[in-house]
């Protein structure tokens, strides 16, 4: 039995899945909803951070070696 998921949450995840061109059933969306929501919640947190003038970290730029 897939976990319960409300219709608004399902609609939101369906929109994201369609945008990602991901073919996925409602049952699978319900299965992954808890994990997806954890990851998506970060978007709200980021919106409140002061990231002015901050560039993304990149795998092409390892941290600088420690001096000394």
């Amino acid at each position: 039995m897939p976990p319960e998921i409300d219709s608004q949450q399902l609609a939101r995840l369906r929109t994201l899945a369609d945008a990602a061109r991901l073919s996925i059933s409602d049952e699978r969306l319900a299965e992954i909803a808890p994990l997806a929501e954890i990851l998506l919640d970060r978007f709200g947190a980021f919106a409140e951070l002061d990231l002015d003038q901050v560039q993304p970290a990149s795998n092409l730029r390892p941290p600088r070696p420690a001096s000394g």
Binding site: R28, R42, F46, L51, P56, N59, P62
Partner: protein, 457 residues
């Protein structure tokens, strides 16, 4: 002398040079040990016995001829099965790559061969290295050598179990969210995640380009340093590789911890911890304090907001996008769920996460102006049963932050639970500060004997 399969790299290297042991005999002992332990722990996907015996014979011949490649010469090692080995299947623990045979070696494979190491085989793991238990739906679960009904941890479960069981003297794993340190902790061995960029990753099946690291699992801190000496260095085929000169990571091991400043970030790395584990790790810090270290309460406020970052899931979903769209049913549940969830994350969220990560890395760099190591439990709980698994990722609670911040971190044994399961301490160091980190870990290890215990398989 210990049984050959129980030797450390340093002990075996000494025995190979004083004539009391040959690489051939050592390799035979390790293969014989694997024959005994594999039915219980399932650490290997592929054993390369014929190759190992041939390499061991070559190693002996070279030593007799006066060609000494260094401490790993003739030492039986094994590789997580996401690390390419020319002519040997490399499955990533997946159904997709079950029949894949790479035509060339990974950067780290070549480094180990050049150092004279003998390859015993390829190690089981969580499917595509994507979670914490190494309960693999295609190759079976890895059993913990201390209790085969329990998980070995993941994703490098086979890498840790083989070292603990004696079916390799040392192994390599990969660490995207703690996958070297966690299984090392649950199996009672040493696991080192170097600084991001320290060890080249070309020829390793990726999960997350910006979080993946390759690191050693060993029986002692000195052995971890010896393995790092062999595999560190600039990899021109890895865009994340650093050009920092590696040096000799064993050089400072004996310098002790007098004056070392230990940071304790309780809110981040000690919360909701099993009291038995918390007590063992507090006792370990007391040992370091007794050796001359000082202890300081610290925090990394921005890191709280960077937890549960979508970076790993999004990068993994990008790597797997074709397979996920065409053959999602060929993944096990854990990998499929992570990939599908990652595919749903908007691009803006991913970029914001990487921008926050920049600030977190800066915050971490600043913290290490005031301390020398961060100390915490590696895992908040001991190894769960295979039946229970880790559905809520409890095992990963403290470890992934070190991938986000890119600092080096090591897990070392520091005790046992009431039901005889390993407990481990994690130490984190400043970027490219592996030498100081290894020095602190070595000092603790020399003052205790947890690392000498072996499971009774």
């Amino acid at each position: 002398m210990s049984e050959p399969h129980d030797l450390t790299i340093r002990e075996a290297a000494t025995a190979l040079r004083d004539g009391s042991l040959t690489a051939a005999a050592l390799t035979d002992a390790v293969l014989a040990r694997a024959a005994v332990t594999e039915p219980a722990i399932n650490a290997y996907i592929t054993l390369t016995a014929d190759l190992a015996r041939q390499q061991a014979a070559n190693a002996d011949e070279e030593l007799r001829a006066g060609r000494d490649r260094g401490p790993l010469h003739g030492i039986p090692v094994a590789l997580k099965d996401i690390i390419d080995t020319a002519g040997i299947p490399t499955t990533a623990g997946s159904d997709f790559l079950r029949d894949r045979v790479p035509q060339s070696d990974a950067f780290v494979t070549r480094k180990l061969y050049d150092a004279g190491a003998v390859l015993v085989g390829k190690l089981n793991l969580h499917e595509f290295a994507m979670s914490t238990t190494s309960i693999n739906p295609h190759y079976g679960p890895v059993g913990n050598p201390w209790d085969p009904a329990r998980v070995a941890g993941g994703s490098s479960g086979g890498s840790a179990a083989a070292v603990a069981a004696g079916s390799a003297l040392a192994t390599l794993g990969s660490d995207t969210g703690g996958s070297v340190r966690l299984p090392a902790a649950l199996c009672g061995v040493v696991g080192l995640k170097p600084t991001y960029g320290r060890v080249g990753r070309s020829g390793v099946v990726m999960i997350s380009w910006s979080l993946d690291h390759v690191g050693p699992l060993t029986r002692t801190v000195e052995d971890a340093a010896l393995m790092l000496n062999a595999i560190a260095g600039y990899d021109p085929n890895d865009g994340g590789s650093a050009e920092d000169p590696a040096g000799d990571f064993t050089r400072d091991l004996g310098r002790g911890v007098e004056g070392l400043r230990i940071g304790i970030a309780r809110k981040l790395f000690w919360s909701r911890c099993d009291p038995e584990i918390e007590a063992a790790c507090e006792a370990a810090i007391d040992v370091l304090r007794g050796l001359g270290a000082t202890v300081h309460e610290v925090d990394l406020p921005l890191l709280h907001g960077a937890r549960r970052t979508p970076i790993l899931a999004v990068e993994a979903a990008a790597y797997h996008s074709t397979w996920l769209r065409q053959h999602a049913d060929r993944y096990g549940d854990d990998a499929r769920s992570l990939l599908e969830a990652g595919a749903l994350i908007p691009g803006t969220a991913y970029v914001q996460a990487q921008r926050l990560r920049t600030k977190v890395i800066d915050e971490t760099r600043a913290l290490f102006n005031t301390i020398d190591v961060l100390a915490s439990p590696t895992s908040p709980v001991v190894a769960p049963t295979i039946e229970a698994g880790d559905p809520k990722f409890v095992l990963a609670r403290y470890i992934m932050d070190f991938n986000v911040t890119a600092i080096p971190a090591i897990s070392i044994p520091c005790g046992f639970s009431g039901n005889d399961l390993p407990i481990s301490l994690m130490l984190g160091g400043r970027h490219f500060g592996e030498s100081a980190l290894l020095r602190a870990a070595h000092a603790y290890e020399q003052a205790t004997d947890w690392h000498r215990r072996r499971p009774s398989l």
